[in-house]
C-alpha cells in the first residue's frame, strides 16, 4: 500500500504538466502544417450540409434537455421514482428524518443484543 499516494511517480503532477505542454506543442505543430490558402468569408468557410441550407444557430445548438436522452430512457425505472421522491415538500423531508432515525435505532438495538 503506497505510503503517501501523491508520490506515485508517474502520476506526479509536474510530470503530467510537462506531458501536457509537450502535447500542446505537438498539436500546434500538426495544426501549423495545414493549408493556409483559403479565403475567409467566401463559401470555403461556410458549413456544408450536402447543399442544404444550414438552420439558424438557435435551432442548430443542441439544448440541455436533449443531451444524454438515451441514458435517461435506459434508466427510466430508476429515474421516475427518484425524481418523484424529490418532491420539494417540507413534510416529506421530516418523514425521511424520522424514518431513518427509527431504522438506525432498531439496527443499533439488534446489533447490541447479539
Amino acid at each position: 500500500m503506497a505510503t503517501s499516494v501523491p508520490t506515485l511517480d508517474y502520476w506526479a503532477p509536474l510530470v503530467c504538466l510537462i506531458a501536457f505542454v509537450i502535447l500542446i506543442a505537438v498539436t500546434y505543430l500538426f495544426r501549423s502544417r495545414g493549408r493556409k490558402q483559403y479565403k475567409k468569408g467566401t463559401a470555403q468557410t461556410e458549413i456544408f450540409l450536402s447543399g442544404e441550407e444550414p438552420p439558424d444557430t438557435e435551432e442548430r445548438h443542441i439544448r440541455a434537455y436533449n443531451i444524454y436522452w438515451g441514458f435517461f430512457q435506459g434508466l427510466k425505472r430508476y429515474y421516475d421514482p427518484t425524481i418523484k421522491a424529490h418532491s420539494g415538500i417540507i413534510n416529506d423531508y421530516i418523514i425521511w428524518l424520522i424514518a431513518l432515525m427509527s431504522i438506525t435505532a432498531v439496527i443499533l438495538t439488534i446489533v447490541s443484543l447479539t
Partner: protein, 521 residues
Amino acid sequence: MDALVIHSPILIIAIPLLAAFLTPLISKASNRARDVLVIAALAFTEFLVIVLAKDIYLTGIHVYTLGASSPIVTIPEQYMVPVRIILEVDAMSIFAGIMSATVCLAGAIYSLSCVREETGKDRFYTLLLLLTVGQLGMEFTGDMFNLFVFLEILSISGAALAAFRTRFADAVEGGFKYMVISSVGALLVLFATGIFYAQYNLLNIAALAQAMQYTMLDKIALTLLVIAFLMKSGGVPLHWWVPDTYTPAPAGVSPMIYSATLACMYALYRICFTLYGVALNAATIGWIVIIAGVLSMFVGVTMALHQSDVKRLMAYHVISQGGYMLLGVGVGLAVLDNPEALATYGREAISGGLFHVINHAFFKGLLLLTGEALFYRLGTRDLNKMGGMARNMKFTCVFFLIGALAISGVPPLNGFASKLMIYEAAYQLNPILTIVAMIVSIITLASFTKVFQSAYTGPALSQYKDVKEVPMSMLIGMGILAGATIFFSLFPSLVVNTIIYPAADALIDQAAYINAVMGGV
C-alpha cells in the same frame, strides 16, 4: 506574541462576533468604513488561525478555559471534573478552522462587488460575520451544549443569508426549508445533550468520553446525534434540502453555506471518533456512514445529470462529493477497533476523506462562482437557453474548465489526488465501494461535459451577442480559488503531510484529547 497564541482560540471567535455587532453602527457612518471593518476582522481572524495552526503542529492540543484564573486550568482545585466551558483545539479542529476562515474571507471579498446593488447591506455583513462565528465556534468548542448553541447560530444566519434576495420567491423558500430542517435537527441534538447530562452530570466532550459507558440511553443519544448531523451535512437520504438552499443563495454566500455544511460534518466526526471512540459498535456506525456515503455519491450525481438549472446541478454535486468524504472517513470508522487495519488503510482512508474536504471547498467554490457569473450576465440559470458563451466570457470558461476537471478527478488536478487515496483505501475494505466511486467519477465528468456543451460551446447565439465578461472583482475572487486549486494540485504531498495527516491522527487518537482536559485525573 505568546499571549496572542495562548488567547487565540477565544479571540478567533470573539473578533468576528464583535465586528458583527459593530457593523450596523458603523454603516450609519459610511459604507466604505463598514467594508473595511468586515474585511479587516476576517483577515485578522485568518491570521490568528494560521498562527494557532503553526503552534498546534509544534506543541500539540491547545485548551482554553473560559473564566478561569489561567486559560489552561481546566479542572479547578478540589474538583474532579471540568465545570467551565472549555475550547479545545487539536489538529483536526484547526484543519476545519483553516478551511472555514479561508472560505469566509474569500466569500466576503467576493460579496463586496456582488451585493453592491442590494439594499440592507449592513444586515448582510452582520449575518456573514455571524455565520463565520458559528462555524469557527462549532469547530473549536469542547462542550456539547456550546456545540448546540453555535449550531443554532450557524443555522439562523445561514438561513437568513440564503433567503437574502427576498425579491426571488425561490430564495425565501430555500431559506425556510433550511431553517425548518436545522431547527428540528438542533432540537434533537439538544435532546441528546440532555440525555448525556442526565446520566453523567457532564457536558464537556472530553470528560464525557472518559466517563462513557455505552448504555441504552447512550445508544439513543448516538442515533439522534449521528442522524441529525448527517442531515445537516447533506447525506442521502436526508439531502433533500441541499439543492433548494444552494440554488438561490447569493454568490459570495454559497461557499460559506457550504463550509457551514462541512462544519456539521466535522461535528459528526468529532461525535463518532472522540466522544464515543472505541465504545461504540464501530462496524455498525461505520457501515451506516459508508452506506450513506455510497448512496450520496450515486443519487447525487444521477440527479445532477438530469438538471437543467446550472446552480441546482452544482448543488447536487455538493451532495455527491460529500458522499466521497463520508465514504473515506466511514471506512476509517468501520475499522476503528481493529488496530492493524486502522494503521494500514484506515488512516489513509480518513486522510483521503479529509483531503477531499479541503479540495472540494476550493473547486466547488470556484464552480459555484462561475455559475453565478453566468446568472449575473445572462439573467437566467436555465441551461436550455444558453449557448456559445466561451466566445464572450473567456476567463469564466477557463475557470470553469479547471473546476470541472478537478471535480471529476482528472489527473493532475487535486481532485484526483484525494480520490485516489479514497479509492485505494476503500478497495481494501470492500472492492465494490471503489467500483461505485469510480463510476460516479465518470458520471460527474459526463454532467460537467453537459454544462460545458450547453453553456459554453456551440454557435454564437444572436441574443447574447453583446454579453461581456464579468467585472474584475468577481474575476479576482474566482482567480483566488483557481490559484488555490492549482497550488494544491502541484504540491499535494506538501499539503497532505502538513495539514491532513496530523488531522487524521488527531481524530483517531481519543486519549490525547481526553488527557488535554482531564490531565491526570
